[in-house]
Amino acid sequence: METQPVIVIKDLYKTFGENEVLKGINLSVNKGENLVILGRSGSGKSVTIKCLVGLVKADKGEIKIFDEEVSALNDDDLNNMRVNIGFMFQNGALYDSMSVRQNLKFALKHHTRNLAEPEIESKIMEALENVGLAESIDKMPSELSGGMKKRIALARAIIIKPKIILYDEPTSGLDTITSREISELILSVQEKYKASSIIITHDMACAKTTGNRILILNEGEITAEGSYEELEKSKDEWVHSFFI
């Protein structure tokens, strides 16, 4: 199969006040690929994917999704593009005035208009069963534990069957068993929807399971790239330190 990149980032720079966060990021994600980004806390991982969807305006650089330059899009076109993207926030970002059901319904309804009520309901159930939380459907976010919020956020990101999914630490704060289940869910989403994803994580087991390719971000620059096995064998002490 010919691999064509769905996401291309070239020379991305971003500064917050005095703080130079991104210093020339280059990366690309091929169609159907899971790209894992590793990096220490504060290295700019979340900022990178926020630039990707236009939540943060980059200072300089090129971001192309499906061959379209994100910064050049007007509001309507940007929204048309976002319809194809699922975004899981690091802290969940569940709407706390809405129940779990309404959270998922909100994402779905604004994604595909004119869905029939039974269809919505069955999609919600399916998404919740995927993350093992079908019984929490009528709970409010404040009644959920941290890990449960995370899983609902994951369900909300994938319920729209997006072509691109951006996961910001999908397994942090979860026990090993649930983490493994989530990693497998990410894999199955990749296969089922032919989705291309970026997965930010600190969890090496998750990186190993889900990643086709791994990037390591260090202080706003990408310092290493390769498959899990390649990087694990790396002679570079700093790269190696991630795998201990």
Partner: protein, 252 residues
Amino acid sequence: MTVYIKNIFEEAGDMTQFTLRFFKELLKPVFQWREFSRQCFAVGYKTLPLITITGFIMGLVLTIQSRPTLLKFGAESWLPSMVSLSLIREIAPVITALICAGKIASGIGAELGSMKVTEQIDAMEVSAVNPYKYLVVTRILATTLMVPLLVIYADFVGIYGGYIGYNIHGNMTLFRYFSDVLEHLEFLDLFPAIIKTFFFGFFIGLIGCYKGFNASNGTASVGIAANEAVVAASLSIFIIDMLAVQLTDLFF
């Protein structure tokens, strides 16, 4: 000092932009009817008990306080119309608006502020929902519509309070009391008073949304947003009230 002045101008500029954006987004299609009606209901539901109590007490107290003075001039029969005129022209609009500033503007400021801080507004944006249209436009329209309705309600409750106050020493039926009030009521008493309440409502919604939407990061900023919203909204009510009086004076 210069920093302080610069901040004021910057804020005024931001706020003007925010307001212009409201009108721009208002005209774009897909109006969020459901969220709008939910907000209207919330505004009414949260403030109705408070407005009932304060409106009633205002009418009652004003009547009791004014009676001795009017009695001195032998003008006791003016009591119903005088009290209701003060209520309709000034007291009910301002008190209702201040209650809404305390209850609604702060509520909106805190709600949007916490949504901003916990990235819920960002989440909306990436789900291709325009958060400005969904959250801000609906809330501003809801307050603009509901505050005038609440003021009219407060007028009635206040006049009724006046009726009760009158009957502590006097003796008049409710029907006669109301017809006495209506008889002395003119278009010019009512019209400017109603018009200004739309502005009260608009600014209560606008300031609440502006402060919430611009909450910086961190939970502390949610409290600050709510607090600043109340202060700025209350202040704007007095300023609008003053301008309204001057304008009516000028034109009529």
